[in-house]
């Protein structure tokens, strides 16, 4: 071999080394110092929300000097996609955010989530500190996989001065509701503010309609990917009710190209009478409208075959990775996060209702949030967001068709046929 070729080989070898260096990622550095590192992933990077988690983490680290917590936050929209990629990688967070229902269940089925039942059973005081309906949505086959952080529910928020002007009451039934919408429209007021650029907004309506129009046992069977058929006529009726709201001009114009946030601003500016909003958004409403607002749950639909007293909503919470090396410490942190003290801080600082019994009270929450939680306790239970409660593909079909229902390109029957087809396919794949 000539000198030149030797040199070339050395160069190539170096090059290969550099490449190899790229692949092995830097492993946890603190491990060397004898500390346990827990990776914690949540979905609230917003500057108004993030400090709460920072504070809890700092407090926890102070009490547990041998544990270091690395927090990461990804916003609501992107985390739906990124969580799947992250969990497939080698660098899985020990504790990660998840919606309840099917969204969490698919991680359970894939064996990515740790069964938390033994830990909850060992510490019954902890288990019993939660409002029961908040733990239940994280259950699969009777086992608990998730710990709830907050409670969220959907209510119609209304502008009090507009309601007063036209002498309207909080409606008890859907027919009353429609009548009021009509009154508003006749008087040139936009009845419902609605931003459907991201179609989950429409899904929240459909969650409620499905729950009220489809018998509970049929709905639960259909939402299960293994047995889902979606053949009940209630589903088409639900879509039709949604379309009718738009056809009769009760929704604001251009809902498909208005984002939820922009719609919120319109509502705050008094450009419409009602808005279907989440409990966790109540603090924003209070900030902008200063008491000039009230709320009511989606009115009961007379003759509807489903459950009329459930409320659309779900707890948000955390799962523990099945790959974690420190399950005990992870549970320790979750216990700390859901202590009554931190639960009530969640309410005071962020205005969010906590699933921990007695953490959200009339004293530390704004009046309407406390009432909303009260409403939840009175309701039969929660109907989890449709797009997180059914298989991802069925959800996707619902999501993309919601916009087409609004702009009139598709009819409810057509959409339902499509969903039935997807459900069948999902069924055949989940054997």
């Amino acid at each position: 071999m000539s000198k030149k070729t030797k040199l070339l080989f050395v160069a190539m070898l170096l090059f290969a080394l550099v490449l190899a260096g790229c692949s092995s990622s830097s492993s946890t550095t603190e491990e060397g110092s004898g500390k346990i590192v827990l990776k914690f992933l949540h979905k609230w990077p917003e500057p108004e929300n993030h400090p709460y988690f920072d504070q809890v983490v700092k407090e926890f680290e102070k009490q547990h000097p041998n544990i270091v917590i690395k927090t990461d936050a990804i916003a609501d929209g992107p985390i739906k996609d990124k969580l799947r990629v992250i969990l497939g990688g080698n660098d899985v967070p020990d504790i990660f955010f998840s919606w309840s229902g099917e969204f969490a269940r698919k991680f359970v089925r894939a064996g990515a989530a740790l069964d938390l039942t033994p830990y909850l059973n060992k510490d019954t005081a902890w288990r019993d500190s939660f409002i029961p309906s908040s733990l239940q949505p994280f259950q699969t086959d009777g086992k608990n996989y998730g710990i709830p952080l907050d409670l969220d529910a959907k209510y119609f928020v209304y502008n009090k001065s507009i309601f007063k002007k036209y002498n309207l009451q909080e409606p008890k039934t859907w027919d009353e509701f429609l009548q009021e919408l009509d009154t508003l429209k006749q008087n040139g007021v936009t009845p419902i503010i609605f931003g459907n650029q991201d179609p989950w907004a429409a899904i929240h309506y459909l969650t409620g309609f499905n729950q009220k129009l489809v018998p509970q046992d049929v709905r639960m069977k259909d939402y299960n990917p293994k047995t889902g058929e979606f053949t009940d006529p209630g589903y088409v009726q639900a879509l039709q009710m949604f379309v009718d709201l738009n056809k009769k001009g009760y929704f604001m114009k251009n809902a498909n190209s208005t984002s939820h946030d922009m719609a919120k601003q319109l509502f705050f500016a008094g450009k419409g009478a009602m808005f279907y909003l989440e409990l966790v958004e109540f603090p924003d409403v209070e900030k902008a409208m200063k008491g000039n607002w009230g709320f009511f749950p989606m009115p009961a639909i007379t003759g509807g075959k489903g459950d009329q007293s459930m409320i659309t909503g779900a707890p948000d919470g955390f799962l523990v990775s099945s790959k974690t090396k420190h399950p005990k410490e992870a549970i320790e942190f979750l216990k700390f996060l859901t202590s009554k003290e931190n639960g009530s801080k969640l309410t005071t600082q962020l205005g969010w209702p906590s699933p921990v019994k007695g953490a959200t009270t009339a004293q530390n929450a704004i009046k309407q949030v406390a009432e909303g939680v009260d409403g939840l306790n009175k309701a039969d239970g929660m109907a989890i967001w449709l797009d997180t409660d059914v298989n991802a593909k069925v959800a996707d079909s619902y999501l993309s068709n919601a916009q087409l229902l609004l702009d009139g390109t598709k009819k409810p029957e057509q959409v339902m046929k499509e969903i039935q087809k997807v459900a069948k396919q999902v069924q055949s794949e989940s054997e």
């Binding site: 739906k80 894939a110 990515a112 114009k253 190209s257 593909k393 993309s400 702009d407």
Partner: protein, 294 residues
Amino acid sequence: MKTLRYNRIAILYILPAFLLILSFVFLPIVYNLYNSMFRWSSFDAAKTFVGFNYYGRLFKDPVFYISLKNNSLYAVISLVFQVGGGLVIAAVMEDKLIRKFQPFFRTVFFIPSVISIAVVGLMWQLLYNPEIGLVNGFLHAIGHSRWAHSWLGDSNTAIFAVIFVSQWQYTGYMAMLFLISMQKIPAEYYEAAMIDGASKIKTFLKITIPQIREMILVGTVITVIGAFKVFDEVYVMTGGGPGRSTEVLGTMLYRAAFRNDEMGYASAIGTVIFIITLILSLLQMKLGKSGQEV
């Protein structure tokens, strides 16, 4: 046997690049094909063999044809505006009357293409907004309120609204490429044409275009392949909506992989995109008889 020795050294020189391309381009293509034959999700270790089922499903999927149509629309409109329009803009800028201001116009036309696509997407989302957007505002101002429209919210207009943004962004870039190669054309040709009394349009057709043929070909290949690989503009502005009306192959792949947990289906879509772009570029290279320059 001197040549053989030289050859061996030559091969050694090529080897690093070859290995790189092999491991980062060709292996993934093959691996992707392999992946497309399994049902699997990113977070689940279990893989189920399904053979070529996903390809069968893809060719029956109506969204696939919507995507193909949208990608083709992208390609055709981009060819007209970016390559055609870019050529005209470049020729005008090279004209003696305007050449003095050329640096100014060059910058103006080039600026859109250096802005990040996320920023451009959000900006146009606001411009298109039916309530507060500039586009409808402009239409109202010039008294054509009946043309005002929910541009991105209507499934009939959304794809055109998205494609238009691409044209706005990249026509200037193409014009710049053409301008550079136009400046390499010897001035004598134009002088001769002038003496012969050729009109400006004739000069453009008979001298400019043949002289920059290679660059036009490169531009065409870039735009057409770009049109079939497009993802970010669509993802940022509409996410494939309303419904599936603005779905392109790229967003369809993304949706399959990261929304619907069907990595195998996504791999199948990826393979199809690869085949389409491969055929298109081979076709163009053949038609353009490229290979002499650039």
